[in-house]
């Protein structure tokens, strides 16, 4: 725990929202207004029996400002989804705190937690699994209001219809269908409509577009950006696709094996990554730009070839098991710059530039 203490006191975790990047007008992703809405402190999520304990999230701290979109990227097993689920309290944290609007969600009674977490809603990856196959679309969307007994049935149906309209679903024809009669994109629209019915202030999107085709993916990304503008909610956008995250996020956090590696405004993170893992991840993305020509091979077997940087070569190995994370810095087994210090001591989260936080003993120079 000592090695992972973030800069500042526990009450002042990393990712202070001051100076959140202002977006050029009209891009749709307005930065936050600077008021803190979510504070995650030393979040730890572990599960499984003692022998096969999965360390899914290990001491993650960050802060979100009201109105911003924070992107959370990482490979499978990085703990990014678990972090999102722990924030929405659908998976209880093992330790640590999630403060929403200043209130520690972990300290609430069951009844008050039920009410409080309606302010945090989720959109999931799998369009099929997200919706109850036995219910009709209009009932699925009206369900959140039914749970809280808001208004009469007719009023609920009316509000559900309006919300369906807002996400681009015809409430009359499509509204009476069941999920299996919908396309993947339509299912995600319904999921988004349902999530917004309770007017949440934080929307946790867990890989909302990764199961969709590219043309539909763009539709959903733009829909989320539009809705965010209209409703003014804050968004935690979890995805493995770096380009998708960049297109929608104000700030981006990178996770690796349950740890936060780097957190910075989106453009800064992609243009000048400080953590070797972030750099390697970015260089692994196949570019759809032909002028760049065929990429230079970068896997370990061809390491050392001309034009192959050490950063890229590093990712030849596979991600270690979250059952037995490496000592010290968790990325050291795949890192080209790893030194003895990295195995011995866990790098603390440090602020190297305004808004730019990195957990690395030897951050990259630019």
């Amino acid at each position: 725990m000592e090695g992972s203490q973030p800069a500042g006191t526990p009450n002042q975790p990393v990712g202070t929202p001051t100076g959140i990047r202002n977006q050029p007008a009209g891009t749709g992703t307005e930065g936050g207004n600077g008021k803190e809405i979510l504070r995650v402190e030393h979040l730890v999520v572990e599960y499984g029996p003692r022998r096969r304990r999965v360390h899914a999230v290990s001491d993650v701290s960050f802060l979100m400002a009201e109105g911003e979109t924070l992107g959370l990227v990482g490979e499978s097993g990085s703990g990014k989804s678990t972090t999102g689920r722990a924030i929405a309290h659908v998976q209880p944290p093992t330790s640590g705190h999630v403060y929403f609007d200043g209130i520690d969600l972990g300290g609430l009674s069951t009844g008050r937690l039920r009410r409080a977490r309606t302010q945090i809603q989720m959109v999931f990856q799998d369009p099929i699994s997200s919706l109850n196959p036995r219910r009709r679309v209009r009932d699925i969307v009206a369900e959140p209001l039914a749970i809280w007994n808001t208004g009469t049935a007719a009023q609920r149906a009316q509000r559900a219809a309006a919300m369906l309209e807002a996400v681009g679903i015809d409430p009359v024809t499509v509204g009476q269908r069941r999920p299996q009669q919908l396309s993947g994109g339509q299912c995600q629209r319904v999921s988004i409509a349902r999530a917004l019915m309770l007017e949440p202030r934080l929307l946790v999107c867990d890989e909302p577009v990764s199961a969709l085709d590219v043309s539909v993916q763009a539709q959903i990304l733009n829909l989320l950006a539009d809705l965010k503008e209209q409703h003014g909610f804050t968004m935690l956008f979890i995805a493995h696709d770096l380009a998708v995250v960049k297109s929608i996020s104000d700030r981006v956090a990178v996770m690796y094996l349950g740890k936060l590696c780097e957190l910075a405004p989106a453009d800064t993170l992609y243009d000048a990554p400080l953590h070797p893992y972030t750099a390697a991840l970015i260089s692994s993305v196949p570019s759809p730009d032909p002028e760049r020509g065929p990429r230079t091979p970068l896997a370990g077997r061809t390491a050392g070839m001309a034009g192959t940087g050490p950063v890229a070569a590093a990712l030849a190995n596979e991600v270690p098991s979250p059952l037995h994370p490496p000592s010290g810095c968790r990325f050291r087994t795949r890192c080209a710059y790893a030194a003895t210090l990295c195995a011995r001591e866990e790098p603390p989260m440090r602020q190297l530039a305004p808004d730019h936080f990195v957990a690395c003993h030897f951050p990259l120079a630019h």
Partner: protein, 277 residues
């Protein structure tokens, strides 16, 4: 695209009609123009089918049609009654264990193993021998014996839905456990549970027949399908008048087939097809 449900088909309706017919006949037996199942017609003993006795009579001159209709009461009450008990208790526990998982699941599961550990037929034989064999006692005992089977099927089915995202979404919206079980899980689990339960009814009706052979079904002279076959097959009656055993066996066969087909078609009909062209 329309509702992509598999049509039930004509056979389903024939089978369902037969089940309904048997149930109606058993329920309204007192009002039907048939003789009492225990009334003896000394003019007609061990006769084959005739105008007077449509299915013939047994060695005591009792009308077989009447005995089969009244016997259906016992078979149906034991069959449907015990499965209803099993479904109510086992199903509720299965939904709860499948949804909650963890310690709840472990405790209920252990309980089900305790009941499973007794060989069901032997357990029933012992209990009936000591406790008596009235209709409701038999129903209750068989119902308890059916709990673990139904529990396991419903628990497994529930578990396959419990980790789906729509359940997580319902929790995030603040839905109570009861609401999630009733509104989200039950509609998904019910089709396969009902299908399995109908097969269960068929199994129990056969079980009643087996118990009758051991002399452990409802006390004579109350007719049950098992009792009638048992009586018909004993005392060399089978050679004198095979109809006594044939009719109830045929009734049992048709009912079991119908229950199986109805259960199977219902499950297919409500099977949500995910994906596909």
């Amino acid at each position: 695209m329309g509702e992509s449900r598999r049509p039930l088909g004509a056979l389903f309706w024939v089978c369902l009609a037969f089940i309904v017919l048997v149930i109606l006949a058993a329920a309204l037996a007192n009002f039907l123009p048939i003789p009492s199942p225990t009334a003896q017609d000394y003019a007609a003993i061990n006769t084959g089918p005739s105008l007077h006795h449509l299915l013939g009579t047994d060695d005591l001159g009792r009308d077989l049609l009447s005995r089969i209709i009244f016997g259906a009461r016992v078979s149906l009450v034991i069959g449907f009654g015990s499965i209803a008990i099993g479904l109510l208790i086992g199903g509720t526990l299965g939904l709860l264990a499948g949804f909650r998982g963890g310690a709840t699941d472990a405790v209920i599961n252990a309980g089900s193993f305790v009941i499973l550990a007794f060989p069901p037929l032997l357990a029933i034989v012992v209990i009936v021998a000591f406790w008596g064999r009235s209709l409701w006692k038999l129903t209750l005992i068989i119902g308890i014996a059916a709990i673990p089977q139904l529990f396991r099927v419903i628990r497994a089915s529930t578990m396959s839905y419990a980790n789906r995202d729509f359940i997580t979404a319902a929790r995030a919206m603040g839905a109570s456990t009861r609401r999630i079980i009733v509104r989200e899980l039950l509609p998904n689990v019910a089709p396969s549970a009902i299908s399995f339960a109908l097969v269960g009814v068929a199994v129990v009706i056969v079980l009643e027949g087996s118990l009758a052979f051991l002399g452990l079904s409802v006390s004579l002279p109350t007719p049950s399908w098992g009792n009638i076959i048992f009586e018909g097959a004993s005392n060399n009656n089978l050679q004198l008048n095979p109809f006594i055993a044939l009719w109830p066996a045929l009734a049992m066969f048709l009912l079991l087939t119908s229950l199986n087909i109805v259960g199977d078609r219902l499950r297919e009909h409500f099977d949500v097809r995910e994906g596909g062209l």
